[in-house]
């Protein structure tokens, strides 16, 4: 048995693919590549794939992290080469590295996510709005019918330079741990901006001990 950690990009061509579909896409990519994934035991066999954090539909990302298990030990170089030939357009592998079988699950060590938000419609006084948001005691949003305060999960917010189309951009660092988390579109909603008019890009995931995926 071998456990590997893959760092990949989800780019614009496949940004409209949801988490469950992405899972199946990976499964089929491995099968095309001829890489024998280990399967879970039980009534219905599932390949052992573990994605650190579900990326919402519509989002792109520079660094998504996923662990997978193989039944046999293979040279990493061969795994990488085989995968490269089988990837669908829009999925890009940054890196594959071996992980101890006993290492803790990705979800259990995930702390937060850094995002870049691009506004496709102009927001007057964005600077003031960001400042006001930082100073608010609570940021109440509605999630699945419940009011919750996401202020504690907003670790950091700041303006970014304009993009190449002169769109305003924001940097957000949000909590992504299992029970305490916020999504960037929730933050955007809190400033009365329609998230459908924004592009969301995950820059990186932050794990315990301050490990960032881009490092």
């Amino acid at each position: 048995m071998m456990r590997l950690r893959i760092d990949f990009q989800k780019t614009s061509p496949i940004r409209f693919i949801g988490h469950l579909d992405l899972f199946r896409i990976w499964e089929r990519t491995f099968r095309r590549a001829g890489i024998p994934l280990a399967y879970t035991q039980g009534f219905k066999h599932h390949p052992r794939i573990n994605i650190a954090s579900a990326l919402p539909l519509g989002f792109t990302s520079s660094h998504e992290i996923m662990d997978f298990w193989l039944d046999q030990i293979l040279p990493i170089k061969n795994v990488l080469e085989a995968l490269q030939t089988a990837l669908p357009s829009g999925l890009i592998v940054n890196q594959i590295s071996p992980i101890e079988l006993s290492a803790p699950s990705l979800q259990s060590i995930l702390i937060g996510s850094e995002y870049q938000v691009t506004f496709l419609e102009k927001i007057p006084n964005l600077e003031t709005i960001v400042e006001e948001l930082q100073n608010r005691a609570t940021i109440e949003i509605e999630r699945r019918g419940k009011r919750i305060d996401i202020k504690p999960y907003l670790f950091s917010i700041s303006l970014l330079p304009f993009d190449e189309n002169n769109n305003q951009q924001l940097f957000l660092y949000l909590s992504s741990s299992q029970d305490q988390n916020a999504r960037p579109d929730e933050v955007i909603q809190a400033i009365d901006y329609d998230p459908l008019d924004a592009l969301f890009h995950r820059l990186q995931l932050v794990f315990e001990n301050g490990t960032k995926t881009s490092q």
Partner: protein, 650 residues
């Protein structure tokens, strides 16, 4: 104008976040073929007029996509119906419907090919033309518009759609699509550049193309024919009005099934049949009298076991799929079915590749087959007796005994399955309420067998559809049940097939009638379809979308009585609006079969005994080019002997 791929894509990026399942509309899937538009001469867009999730499981579309893209001078892309939410957005932004691969608008293509496997797609086809900003009526289109062609099972009666489609392809498309592209290519070279053609002769130039197409075997150009009716409004005849337009259009078939496509597009999102489709056999020799597919897909042609296994191996490598569907109209009738299953088990591990084997016969062999394939027992085991009394099954020529049904049910439950799905039809010719009651009784007998083996875990799911007398079948002379009859029969079933372990599902009568009108209609139906679409009818195959009142209104506007098509027994010598379409099976043979049915006389499987349906003499040369076992018809016999057979059959 929002007509360039770049502009279309830019607007899409803004509207796709606002619709459900946006990945339906992005293309880019693994194995998609995107060719260089400007360096490719012929641009074809293949269209399934319902949503992506359904259309991507259409095998015909995939076969043609593969074949056209193999040509160096042509490209094929795909388009599907947008769901209501995207349609609203497209109309709001005046964005023309586009093809998934290159995002070119459909109106920029040379040829649009619709696949119409069933009739309830017709209004969607109109809606797609409208969304593509292309005139709906064939006679309103000129040189700058794409050629609109259509094929698929429902086009074996093309007449209801004759106003909208420039040319129909009758039968199997694998070879004739190449001929159509060749003809189009020659015509295009001759006619280019289109911009230099004065508008006054634009339509006549387009007519030239249609004249060339009408000469192709299996291609029907409706505008070259004039229909005639009798004083009582019944159909009289269709008259060719263009020199060279044939009196009858004989369906195309391939002598040998070409290699199946193995580089299948792998959808990003789940589709209805999310698996490798592998056609093991085409056609069916059983001769069930209600079954249009069984009549129009004759003769039976099989693929060899080795070819099937190799194609599956290749497909898994190319796609990464975890499931394969072994497709045919009657899996148990595949000659080497045991060899196939044996070889399948040798080559594949069922832990990582699951398989589905639909359309199994009602016998213990089917249970053994399913077992040796380790088929997922949780999915249940499907049996389709179609009728519940032996009398009725003789009438429809599905001569299975009730004992066979019960014995098979016994084998299924005792081998670990807990659910049996039973499929029946109501409304068969000569059906009485006793025959309907027998559906209840038989279903209850089956559940009792289940309880004997596994107690209360036993489940029977009864699916009931309503018979439609389809064109080109022995039952084309007969009638549909009236709504009242259907309701009486359905309520008998609903009242009694309930309670623990029994689930009943049925087709709503409005779906039945719509399909019946559209499948049996003549040219006068075209305006009804158009009106219904204008009144908002679309997605007619969807129970929650069908708008029957739009259809009723459309009939009224056109002063057509829908019952004329569905509730009128046809005289034995009545001409049908689809008589100019030849399926290779003689009308006399179908009539004889109808008469046999009325006297309860069955016709055995024609693999064992040729009944001279007409296929062999009509496709004599094709059969000679493909001798041996691939065809399941006996070898061609001399005319003299064939006449003797006729005499025996008569």
């Amino acid at each position: 104008m929002n007509d360039s791929p770049v502009e279309i894509n830019n607007i899409l990026q803004r509207i796709l976040p606002r619709v459900q399942k946006p990945a339906r509309y992005t293309g880019g899937e693994y194995n998609q073929i995107l060719k260089d538009w400007n360096n490719t001469k012929l641009h074809v867009c293949l269209i399934f007029p319902d949503i992506y999730d359904l259309g991507m499981s259409n095998l015909g579309l995939m076969i043609l996509y593969d074949l056209i893209n193999q040509r160096s001078d042509a490209l094929a892309e795909r388009a599907f119906s947008p769901w209501l939410d995207l349609e609203d957005q497209l109309r709001k932004f005046n964005l023309p419907l586009y093809a998934l691969e290159s995002k070119h608008p459909l109106k920029a293509f040379d040829i649009l090919g619709f696949t119409l496997p069933y009739e309830s797609l017709y209004t969607n086809a109109l809606n797609i033309l409208d969304l593509a900003q292309i005139p709906l009526f064939s006679d309103q289109r000129a040189l700058q518009h794409p050629l609109i062609i259509a094929g698929g099972h429902s086009t074996f009666n093309p007449e209801p759609m004759h106003s909208f489609i420039d040319a129909f392809v009758i039968g199997e498309g694998e070879e004739v699509i190449q001929e159509i592209l060749d003809v189009y290519s020659d015509w295009k070279i001759e006619t280019l550049p289109f911009e230099n053609i004065p508008p006054s002769i634009s339509k006549s130039k387009r007519n030239e193309l249609l004249k060339h197409l009408a000469k192709l075997d299996g291609v029907y150009v409706p505008k070259f024919y004039q229909e005639h009716y009798n004083l009582d409004n019944t159909f009289s005849r269709l008259e060719p009005i263009e020199p060279g337009a044939p009196e009858t259009i004989r369906k195309r078939i391939v002598g040998k099934l070409p290699p199946p496509p193995t580089r299948l597009i792998v959808p990003y999102i789940e589709t209805v049949h999310d698996r490798i489709p592998l056609e093991i056999m085409r056609g069916c020799t059983r001769g069930c009298r209600f079954c249009q597919a069984g009549m129009i897909t004759r003769p039976v042609r099989e693929r060899g076991v080795d070819e099937i296994i190799q194609s599956i191996q290749q497909s898994i490598k190319n796609t990464g799929y975890e499931e394969v569907g072994l497709l045919s109209l009657s899996s148990s009738d595949y000659t080497n079915i045991l060899d196939l299953i044996h070889s399948f088990n040798q080559h594949f591990s069922l832990d990582t590749l699951s398989v589905s084997l639909p359309s199994l016969r009602i016998d213990s062999l089917s249970v053994e087959l399913m077992q040796s394939l380790g088929l997922a027992r949780r999915n249940g085991f499907t049996l389709a007796p179609e009728a519940a009394t032996e009398r009725m099954r003789r009438i429809i020529n599905k001569p299975v005994t009730t004992d066979q049904v019960l014995e098979t049910a016994d084998a299924i439950y005792s081998n670990g399955w807990s659910t049996i799905k039973l499929y029946f039809m109501i409304g068969h010719p000569l059906e009485t309420l006793e025959d309907v009651q027998a559906i209840v009784d038989l279903s209850k007998m089956v559940i009792r067998i289940g309880r004997k083996h596994i107690g209360n875990r036993a489940q029977v799911n009864v699916g009931v559809s309503t018979f439609i007398p389809k064109p080109h079948t022995p039952f084309q002379w007969t009638v549909c049940d009236t709504e009242e009859q259907i309701q009486i029969k359905l309520s008998m079933l609903k009242d009694q097939l309930r309670g623990k372990g029994i689930k009943l599902t049925w087709n709503p009568p409005d779906a039945t009638f719509l399909e019946a009108w559209l499948s049996r209609g003549d040219r006068r139906m075209a305006n009804v379809i158009y009106q219904a679409w204008q009144l908002g009818a679309k997605f007619d195959a969807w129970n929650d979308q069908r708008n029957l009142s739009a259809w009723q209104q459309a009939f009224e506007i056109n002063q057509i009585e829908p019952d004329f098509y569905t509730h009128r027994q046809r005289a034995m010598d009545e001409a049908f609006p689809w008589d100019h379409i030849s399926i290779g099976v003689r009308k006399k043979y179908l009539l004889q079969d109808y008469q046999w049915s009325l006297s309860g006389k069955t016709r055995q499987d024609c693999r064992d005994h040729c009944f001279a349906c007409g296929i062999l003499p009509k496709y004599n040369s094709l059969r000679k080019q493909n001798p041996g076992n691939a065809w399941k018809c006996p070898d061609v016999i001399s005319r003299e002997k064939s006449n003797q057979h006729d005499a025996i059959a008569n």
